[in-house]
Amino acid sequence: MKVYIDSEFKCHTENPNGNFREVDNEFFDGKSQASIESYRFVPSGEQWIRDDGTVFNGGGDMITPWKDPEEVDEDVLKRLEDAENALSILLGGNV
């Protein structure tokens, strides 16, 4: 399955601005969007430096979670709450 990786090697299911790189790996076959986007894919031969300075490089692809796929995106949650509040006002509190 084709996915897209950003500059931090985080995976995305879409490439809206064309800035992400495409990778094709069967690891992502059958996975949900939330699951895919919880992964980091560091291609073989490339280097990723973790926040603590640990260097991961070479050898082969590394595919590993960077967050819990069940974790709720705080931005999305806030936008959802704002939308619900706006809808409630429009419908006179009948939401």
């Binding site: 069967e26 690891f27 919880s38 980091r40 073989s44 990723w48 973790r50 603590d52 640990t54 991961f56 070479g58 050898g59 082969g60 692809d61 590394m62 595919i63 590993t64 979670p65 960077w66 967050k67 819990d68 069940e70």
Partner: protein, 301 residues
């Protein structure tokens, strides 16, 4: 076990009886633990306990089975087994931290079973819990308490109490994989552990028990890893469970591409807290066989 306060040995019988009654109240244990009246009587007489706790700065000679010696120059005034810090400590109290594995686990009772997994010891001195060294007398000798710090393998030591030991199993990558399932050939020495598969053979080499990776950020193996097949066919894998094919239930992986690699490290800092199976896929589809040979393996914080 209930978190209760032990003041002195005379209080012991009363406290243990209270613990037993609390256990009896729990519905899920009523059918599991049988408490005949003689058990309660035994508690009152302290005759049902299968261990003792002693202090001192000189390791005792021979002792009763499951004697716990705490290396301390402070009088031990009561002890408690608990996974959580005791709420109301008294000066001299010994807190024996318990977990779900131990190098000195024992049955605390002479009849019936309460299996205890001691991990480490602290003593309340002044206003602090201070670490103490402890040993247990088991099967005729004093045994050190091993504190696991993420070790998966050291020369000649598979840390079987934690890992269950390394096992080999024939397994294909998926249903369309070319290679036939074959358990890797394992070699155990005093200096390394290795597993290999010949061309056309596919299997996994992994630790039989799940490993709790909570709080760790990497899995590291030092050694030599030789892949003479396709790039994804030799890999360090983390599974949520072992399935039918080794690609099933993988939550993290580090592929070891064609060629020879010295050491491998897989980031697990984003892995959800919990326990996982860890091991290697050795799938030698083409060319000569592939192998893993490591002298050390550990989780890293």
């Amino acid at each position: 076990m209930a978190n209760y306060k032990l003041v002195n040995a005379d209080q012991l019988d009363t406290d243990l009886k209270a613990v037993a009654n609390k256990i009896r109240e729990k519905a899920d244990l009523k059918d599991v633990l049988q408490f005949p009246s003689e058990f309660i009587e035994g508690i009152e007489q302290c005759s049902s306990l299968n261990f003792s706790v002693v202090g001192g700065t000189v390791q005792p000679g021979e002792a009763s089975e499951n004697t716990i010696w705490v290396n301390t120059d402070k009088e031990i005034r009561g002890w408690v087994f608990s996974a959580a810090e005791p709420a109301s400590p008294v000066e001299g109290m010994v807190w024996i931290l318990v977990g779900d594995s131990s190098s000195v686990s024992f049955n605390a009772l002479n009849s019936n079973t309460i299996q205890v997994y001691p991990k480490s010891v602290k003593q309340y001195i002044g206003t602090q819990w201070l670490d103490k060294v402890a040993k247990s007398y088991q099967v005729g000798k004093w045994v050190d308490w091993f504190v696991w710090a993420g070790q998966l393998y050291d020369p000649g030591n598979e840390y079987k109490d934690i890992t269950g030991g390394w096992v080999a199993k024939g397994m294909k990558a998926n249903s369309s994989s070319e290679a036939s399932a074959a358990a890797p050939t394992v070699e155990r020495t005093d200096t390394y552990l290795s597993a290999s598969n010949a061309a056309g053979k596919s299997g996994i080499f992994y630790m039989e028990k799940t490993i709790n990776t909570t709080g760790y950020t990497s899995i590291v193996f030092e050694g030599t890893f030789v892949n003479k097949s396709y790039s994804q066919n030799l890999a360090l894998l983390v599974w949520s469970k072992i399935g039918t094919y080794y690609a099933d239930n993988v939550v993290a992986r580090k592929n070891l591409g064609e060629g020879t690699h010295e050491n491998v490290e897989l980031d697990i800092s984003g892995l959800t807290a919990g326990s996982y199976y860890i091991g290697f896929a050795i799938n030698a589809v083409t060319g000569n066989g592939s192998s893993v040979k490591f002298t050390k393996g550990n989780l890293k914080k």
